[in-house]
């Protein structure tokens, strides 16, 4: 994959929540560069710092959440400590993990329109974009429904649609598929992949679904206790099966299987362990 210019840059960033009793850092000394058009997956146990890292990207940290922030951070060259979250919103779309708590409007269409109204889209544009994004997330025909009358999975799709409608250059998603059924999960990953390919949207997604991640992401970042422990292509990262086990995380099942086979000596994987089912089929043939 051809790398674009760097768009998200963390330089030695640390952050500790003011509300935390033990004054520990939620993320510590993060050095990370994400390039334009990359599809990055964040992996880690709950409390590893994935959400904190993502909240930095649109400036909610340190602008809206109190705490101790140090280091340098920029998005498209803009310092988030200077630029407010609402200005950043034009660049960065956020999808949070609790869909129901993000909704506020009377109907699905108005919910999607909210962000667009705030940055001044015209009525005609909104009328065109709303059906478009609803189609992307698979909610067509529900425009007039109350967002609170939707199922958890539909609400999650709606929050993605609301973020997409603002045409962000970067889409940050925090466990966007936690309430979605298995087929829906695959669909949401595919939607993200499509936006990534066709519109060159940079995607940063925190997830637990390693199988799907292996199939779609360009890069996997593994976090543990506020630090980045692994950072590389899915193949590179998931090969570290021993480390994964120590962290209490899973690798894709095919990788796990291959690692066990290799350990027993039944098979050798000269090109590294397979991470997707298709790869496994061809290398185990």
């Amino acid at each position: 994959m051809a790398k674009g210019k760097p768009v998200i840059e963390f330089k030695d960033v640390s952050f500790g929540y003011a509300a935390a009793s033990d004054r520990e850092f939620a993320i510590e000394n993060i050095n990370l560069t994400i390039y334009e058009g990359e599809y990055v997956a964040l992996l880690g146990l709950n409390g590893a710092g994935k959400t904190t890292l993502q909240l930095c990207i649109n400036g909610v940290i340190p602008n809206s959440i109190m705490g101790e922030f140090s280091g340098e951070f920029s998005v498209y060259g803009q310092d988030t400590e200077v630029t407010s979250v609402r200005e950043m919103a034009k660049l960065v779309g956020m999808v949070f993990d609790n869909p129901e708590f993000q909704l506020s409007q009377m109907s699905v269409a108005e919910e999607i329109a909210l962000g667009m109204e705030n940055i001044g889209f015209s009525f005609e544009e909104m009328n065109r974009i709303i059906p478009e994004v609803l189609k992307i997330v698979g909610l067509s025909g529900l425009e007039e429904r109350s967002p609170f009358a939707l199922s958890g999975g539909q609400q999650q799709r709606l929050s993605i649609a609301s973020a997409l409608a603002m045409r962000p250059k970067i889409l940050v998603m925090d466990e966007p598929t936690s309430n979605v059924d298995p087929i829906g999960k695959e669909e949401i990953f595919a939607v993200a992949a499509k936006l990534n390919k066709e519109e060159n949207m940079t995607i940063v997604m925190a997830e637990h679904e390693v199988e799907v991640m292996a199939a779609y992401a360009d890069r996997v970042i593994v976090m543990d206790e506020g630090k980045i422990v692994l950072n590389g292509t899915p193949k590179e990262v998931f090969s570290e099966t021993a480390l994964f086990e120590r962290l209490g995380l899973r690798t894709p099942q095919v990788t796990e299987l291959s690692a066990k086979l290799a350990k027993k000596g039944t098979r050798k994987f000269s090109k590294g362990y397979p991470v997707t089912l298709d790869e496994a089929v061809s290398s185990l043939r």
């Binding site: 909240l55 649109n58 909610v60 809206s64 959440i65 979250v85 609402r86 200005e87 919103a89 034009k90 960065v92 779309g93 956020m94 949070f96 609790n98 129901e100 708590f101 993000q102 506020s104 409007q105 009377m106 109907s107 269409a109 108005e110 329109a113 909210l114 962000g115 667009m116 109204e117 705030n118 940055i119 001044g120 889209f121 015209s122 009525f123 909104m126 109350s146 609170f148 009358a149 199922s151 929050s159 609301s162 973020a163 603002m166």
Partner: protein, 296 residues
Amino acid sequence: MQGIAVPISVVPGNSPIHRINPIPKMVWVLGILVISFITRNPVILGGVFLLGLLFVTIAQIWPSYLRVVMVLFPISLTLILLQSIAPAFPQPWTPIVAVGPFTIWQEGIYSGLSLLLRIMCMTTFAMVMIMTSHPSDIFASMQKVGLPYTMNFILTMTLQLIPILQSEFNTVLKAQKSRGLKGTGFAAILPSMVPVFVGAIERVQQLSISLESRAFGSSGQKTSYRQVQFGFKDALVLAAGALFSGAMTYWLLVDKTLDWSRTLTFSPAFALILFFGAGIGFLLFIAFALRLVLTA
């Protein structure tokens, strides 16, 4: 999660009243509010009330309207009971008939009737407006008239929060009951309050972050998705409302002969029927409500 119906909310429909912009309807409601407060004449108030019922008929919202009135009316009946034995009226009072230790006063019946009709007038018109206008349209047009966006958002959110808290409360209550919480009424409600409010605060925090992430309060030009039309017909209705209430107000203020508190006399039979009717109506309502609460 299923949607919970708020008793007073928009009733979908396509009546002539539904099609009118909310602003003229608001003018009517305000006008009626003024009229109901400057007169005590039960006949005029009754006339205005009938006009309200005519609008209810045109809007075809009778079932939803009755659902609200069935609660409101019996409670308002207490006004007749209390007023007839202790009128909110300058002395001297004229006695009509004695009921045990109490005396029913002429001014009391007059005042009770006008208070009851006053409440019915205001609520009828207000309900016609609320039940025929989509809340989003109300807010959108209020914004057009000059209500600040933030204020508007607070109103919208509050309206949304009521059914959400209701459903959250039900969930918590069920969870508490499934863990063996005993008691009904307040004993059951109180322990559920804390989790509901803690949850509400958490929700608001998360919502504010997510709103900010969607450029809420952004500095640039703000547009509106909800388009409300204001046509010739709307202007006509607005003018009619302003004219009607203006003319009525003027007439009521100028014409002193409309104060019938001394001239409109009630027979003892009428007073007794009204008094006991109101009492029985109110007690029936209480009994019905109690049964509903106790069986829940």
